[in-house]
Symmetry: C2
Subunit: 333 residues, 2 copies
């Protein structure tokens, strides 16, 4: 503010070269003799020169920043769920390695969506879209034109976009198969919302495993929150008092289920086994510690960035990527 930032021109003058040459050195382009290069570097250091990104991006038409758009219709969801912050951490770490900036945008209104659309069309090189709802209107809005998009989580409908997802189907199947192998007879599920891909896919995984074992699928729905899990568990208990295992599509719901089970006098895992999904911090401290399907959230963020970087380099488009999940055995199953 107070002191005007030095310009390339000043660096060039101090180094006794032209602006073009100074630019070459600053950008690491070749074709500059060693002596000149050193002189320019010295000038940069002594002046404390930092390139003006606006001037640069005006001509290069790149901004070296990418947006992480978090479409968040129910702001509660993200608050309780460490998933989001883990993804952000991954994105941020991977981006820093590539020297790009992270512009974070959250959206929970149609007006916000409009802002995002306008903004991303010029201000960023790419958009990472993280939406809990797989049918978010942003998917199609951003897909049409403008910068490339990489989604976190498979979009449920709309245009085919590049995406990175977690193996929700496989993870759920694995969790349920484990319950079957442990000799559980009547395995129910607390499914997530069916307008989110995680909700849909985890239910598919449950159904696949159940069908493969010739059992009957018994489903209640929640919204991934703890309370919804508790309610769903109560209703399942009312309908199927004989149940001896439950697969919950989120840890929070599993923890709610644990409470319901406790309140109705069931012992876990003796009477009822419980498997969750996510492996959040709280799972470790649940009473008893929760057996759950772990998903690699920070890795999701990293891989989204990597995919974007490949797109930005002009590499041939990747096929969607699916990250593996892993069953973590603790005490509830």
């Amino acid at each position: 503010m107070v002191t005007l930032r030095p310009t390339l021109e000043q660096v060039a003058k101090l180094a006794g070269v032209s602006r073009a040459t100074a630019s070459r050195v600053v950008n690491g382009a070749g074709g500059v003799s060693a002596g000149v290069r050193e002189a320019v570097r010295a000038a940069v250091d002594s002046l404390g020169y930092v390139p003006n990104p606006a001037a640069r991006s005006l001509v290069t038409r790149r901004t070296d920043s990418i947006a992480l758009v978090v479409s968040e219709p129910t702001s509660q969801v993200f608050g309780d769920d460490p998933f989001f912050i883990d993804v952000v951490r991954g994105v941020s770490a991977e981006l820093e390695a590539g020297d790009r900036q992270l512009v974070l945008m959250t959206t929970d209104t149609p007006a916000g969506r409009e802002r995002v659309k306008r903004f991303t069309s010029v201000h960023v090189d790419g958009v990472l879209l993280l939406s809990c709802h797989g049918n978010d209107p942003l998917y199609s809005a951003l897909g049409k034109q403008g910068p490339p998009v990489v989604c976190g989580g498979r979009p449920l409908y709309g245009p085919s976009l590049a995406y990175v997802d977690v193996d929700n189907v496989g993870g759920a199947r694995q969790g349920v198969e484990y319950l079957i192998k442990s000799g559980r007879r009547r395995i129910v599920t607390i499914a997530g919302p069916q307008d989110m891909n995680a909700g849909v896919d985890r239910l598919i995984g449950y159904r696949e495993a159940i069908a493969a074992a010739d059992r009957r699928a018994i489903v209640a729905y929640g919204d991934f929150s703890r309370d919804s899990g508790e309610r769903a568990m109560h209703s399942l208990l009312a309908d199927e008092p004989e149940l001896d295992a439950v697969f919950a599509a989120s840890d929070l719901m599993a923890i709610g289920a644990l409470a319901a089970l406790r309140n109705t006098g069931r012992r876990v895992p003796d009477d009822v086994a419980v498997v969750g999904f996510d492996d959040i911090e709280q799972a470790r401290y649940a009473e008893p510690p929760l057996t759950t399907v772990q998903q690699p959230s920070p890795l999701l963020g990293r891989e989204m960035v990597r995919m974007m970087q490949r797109i930005l380099c002009g590499d041939p488009p990747d096929s969607p990527m699916t990250l593996p999940t892993q069953l973590v055995l603790r005490s509830t199953a």
Copy 2:
């Protein structure tokens, strides 16, 4: 990428006016006749014109974006603690209202700090600094020159910077006073790390209340995490078997303390009362539900932005702002 974005020049041509006039309309500057204004607006709409921010900021010397720098020496801390995400939500919401962009930077290495220093010096209009450690070197590094800085949480040392903080001292005092009023005799505390302002201030609040009631301060230290709370509780129990109340400087530590109390056969609140600090989601579901001092994290984010906006408007510098806390009574005290 494919289609070149329309420029102001094209808008002007289509509207039959000069670039200068088109610019006036786009920026809402006065002194344009109604007819011309409408013509330009129509041209903007039909072309789908979006101003190029790089070109604009090249001349205005503003970027209309501010950085949220999260200095995160222990990446664990933020992961478990919903505090950070709440602040981000507040920042983001308030910023969108003002039409500025949020650039998120995290830092956990000296190299990262260097990046932040360089980056923020040119790319953003202001810096919001959120550091859990009150003696973070970034405080002084960013204070020197470059864009204005607003800190979340009072910096422990270093230059006097604008900041917004939560009333940690008052909140802690209030919590402890409540324990005293409830007739508790031997009130211990699990304090947070003493290199974080929240850790320091909450301990001060405890000491003040204890001193005012002529009691003896009994302190153990944790790092705000659940496990550290559990450990600290065990050690306090060993030293002071007669204790009948504990004030924990974070909910996570309080929850750890609850586990330790349970394991050693103490009933809460009958034998020992517990008060936490933060009021995170889990506090409601603790066993039993945790009485705690609530801090307004999203508001902290909002107020940081507001203070920054005032600074950017050239208003006289604010004095530091302290946000109120509130005791939330549940079942542990």
